[in-house]
Subunit: 317 residues, 4 copies
């Protein structure tokens, strides 16, 4: 069960060329909490994320994704994974000393320019007095600020060859595919991966802009669908660009809202209801091109920018 070597998606680093505005958005509007800040980055988490940070927001002259971190299931599992990655032939960057929020991490790269890392040692948030929860089984106090998602959910990347990306995910992380899009031309249009019981923790959809290493979106999970309806009100009142939603995805059945944070990175809020992938022999669900043309679950047509907008944009790549 190599898939169990990796416990869960740990954090995502994204770049912003409007750091102050992006940070204000993530704290006050989106509703994450600041664990720490250094010269280059802010370390953010949702109120029930158990790790020090799940979003690293880094100052940059561009946008897009910095790296994607997955936490291993144990020190031994981490070693097994590193050995497998090294044997795989995929590009590796070797060990880093870690970051403010976790210990040593092994970095590697997919064939499309996205940097991944895996790590075991982690750090819990240092709760300030007003961050201690009334109920000790929650990671932090429910603060009620902004859209207040509960935890990091998933990241969606763009790759020129999704089938090749799939091999990378299976080989390096032991991820399994829960759903995918089979195009008429024989290509895989998109693929949804998980390393645990979540319906997905990473998605990859086909890059149509001829770019490398682009981010499609980062997503946090809300407790209820109603939280997402309220979030839409909050985005509207704060002048945030709502790209599409709220609506329900046909794929995975997730209730969603997509917005663009001030630097242009697409950010989602999602709610999967009680849906989990519990079957150890789950058969990946295949969606044909004809089926996808029906739009989202309740008929919403997929908005054009959803196929074209990724970060960094072409001019910054």
């Amino acid at each position: 069960m190599t898939g169990h070597d990796i416990a869960h998606l740990g954090h995502v680093e994204i770049f912003t060329d409007r750091y102050d505005e992006s940070l204000a958005f993530f704290i006050n509007v989106y509703g994450l909490s600041l664990s720490a800040e250094d010269e280059t980055s802010a370390y953010l988490r949702a109120w029930d994320d158990y790790e020090f940070h799940t979003l690293k927001l880094s100052r940059s002259d561009t946008t897009g994704v910095g790296h994607i971190g997955y936490r291993a299931s144990s020190p031994e599992a981490l070693e097994r994974r590193v050995a497998a990655i090294e044997a795989s032939g995929y590009k590796t960057h070797g060990w880093t000393e870690g970051d403010l929020g976790h210990g040593p991490a092994f970095r590697f790269e997919d064939p499309f320019g996205h940097i991944f890392e895996i790590y075991w040692e982690t750090r819990r948030p240092d709760l300030k007095d007003d961050e201690r929860p009334a109920l000790k089984n929650m990671a932090s106090r429910f603060h009620g600020r902004g859209c207040h998602p509960r935890r990091l959910d998933h990241v969606n990347l763009l790759a020129a060859d999704v089938a090749e990306f799939r091999r990378f995910m299976e080989t390096c992380l032991g991820s399994r595919v829960t759903e995918y899009i089979q195009l008429d031309n024989g290509r895989i249009g998109g693929c949804w991966f998980t390393v645990n019981n979540k319906t997905y923790d990473l998605a990859c959809t086909e890059e149509h802009g001829g770019q490398q290493g682009r981010l499609h979106h980062v997503t946090y999970a809300t407790d209820q669908r109603e939280d997402i309806l309220r979030a839409a009100d909050i985005m509207l009142e704060n002048g945030v660009h709502i790209e599409t939603g709220p609506h329900k995805h046909a794929i995975q059945g997730t209730f969603f809202l997509y917005v663009w944070e001030p630097a242009g990175n697409r950010i989602e809020l999602a709610n999967a209801g009680a849906r989990l992938i519990l079957a150890p022999d789950w058969e990946p669900v295949c969606w044909t091109e004809a089926e996808r043309k029906k739009g989202q679950a309740w008929g919403l047509k997929t908005i054009e920018t959803f196929h074209t907008h990724g970060t960094p944009p072409a001019s910054k790549n």
Copy 2:
């Protein structure tokens, strides 16, 4: 990671001495679907349960729990678990041929009289034409009937010695403890277990009635908290005894509603929001007796029958 040998709670069998009324309740009011029925039992499932049945409702002259089934992660994992159980010294019943909904199962028993089984081979529901979902990633059509929970969630048993029960769960199923109650007298008042990312799939609380093998409750998960508020209306309109709720548990933070089905078995509906146990090194949360006396999350005092009512009742045991 022996815990990963077991994939998830698969089904629960409960006895009823009012079979027809219980069956009508589970189908029309609670909102499960009938996969099959034979001379002794009805095989029921929630609309998004992927297996043939998750509740086996059996005619009996008593009430309470028949057996609890867990599905293994693979044929090899099943073998490993059987070997471990046989080596453990716990009472075993050996292999059964299986049931309508699954293949061969190995049965064993906890020291308090509850029968468990583990199995690998399973069966998907035979969908009737009007049960096929519009979206192929759902197990069955969303029928909207009754309280329409989405999937089986957990079972709660009673045991005279919860610490001993805990050893049983760790040894036989590789379950891990996510939360527990530490009584002032040194005993464990209750313990919540999981084999995967769910916050719990089985709970055990202390038996105060001097009985053996009693059931506290069986629970299905709803997609949203609002579904539980609506369920309370439906229970009220159908004359079902609402024991307590809707409210939010302090332990695990689950939003809940408890009712008694016609034969007296306690049945719950629950919603955990987006809460999952993702940390591979999750530290079990300890609740003291003093903390428990504060009542549920928002202050509701635990109702007296919650401490006394289990099935079968004393006279039937």
Copy 3:
């Protein structure tokens, strides 16, 4: 306070040329209850409608609206209104004996071919044993069937001259305007009316198809927004055409879902939250054409058929 002579929108009659399918839709999918049926019509109500019927569904060789009924505030108020209508010069049809669900009604017609009636004497539903509510302050039992809206909300008509229609509503019913669309060409694009504290009970939007007497849609209110999300699932599973939504209207802020019943009449479910028009001197809200181009509250573009589809269609008018 002539507006207070009319208490509320009482019922809407719609025609269907697929009576059996339409009736099955309204009962099983939309979730209304059948109060009675005669050779020509079915008399339907929502579970908390206090009158015998709020929807009269009539067999026809066409579709669209039959008539719109408003209930007066008292016998004297009814007399005052009849005198005002007779003095107005608008076309009158005189008194009818009433219908299964109410007493004598005075009929009159707007300049665009829609027939209205006002009445005082009404009838409560004859509750069958299984329709009696657990709580005596509800009109009927909450049945949980289909989308189970709570009460009739509003009707939307099409008229070639909305300003003229407005004069009709003010003169005949004492309605007040709560919101309206001011087009750049000086015309009124749409107007929302109420006779009480509801944000609107009737809307009129501009007819672009050169037709007379067309219906845009009929709407019932759900208790919660989440009911509308669930309704979308139910519509999807029952193969009902979802035209647009769920989303939130910019005008009036109502959360909505539009579907077409089997005969093609557009039917909505809506939730206004806690919004009421309490101000006796409410200043009508004016929306410009530029503002309307921004789409709905959260950015959804108004679907093309929303501007073109009305019933009856051109060929049947």
Copy 4:
């Protein structure tokens, strides 16, 4: 239709002997907005309240209710009401110049020591730049702060003789009774009043403490039931005493949460769903003592303090 002379409940003044803490509670936790503050009082409103203030929070050496303001339907209606009150024999205080939020008001008093006022001229909130709503049909921006109720809903007073209080409300305000409790001893245990389509805007329940002029609670309405579940989390995290709920009232069917603000005044959040009183001939619903003993809608027993706690407490009265 004398009832129509009064448009709606306008505002409630409450006293606090912990002004700073109470004000912080109402702004940051409960989620009202500050329209103005003077030496004695803070003027607060919910985000969609159209008047300058709906809650006047006044510094005092005691707690409880200062006065209750109702807005008339027109200048003429105000005159008619004043004449009727003066003719009624109830105690009058005459005209006041008004307050920060409204024009001249006529004050009078019920036989149990509560001061009422009626007024016509009112004032809209002065919106700061960051309070302007994205949608012009809302009174202010949806701020998402605290529990963010949408509008003032109702006030509940205590009176030694509810039947006598009922005569006062009918005579002075033209209120109608929508529901009431008939005690076995022939007395009226409680009475729910409305002047418009709201199910109630004022309730009066029997005073058991031998006090005069006490307040039972003040209530604001949330848009959705889910807002109240979230509010319970927010109250919990802020150390606010949750007295009872969330649960659903049997009387009126309102979903509720009761807390005590820092000075001890009981404050409610409520959601009535889509329920309105539309029938002009609504027959008041009578609840017997036996029916009330069943508890709230889903079985919650009424908490003891609900019968005893009012403000000001005995020692301060």
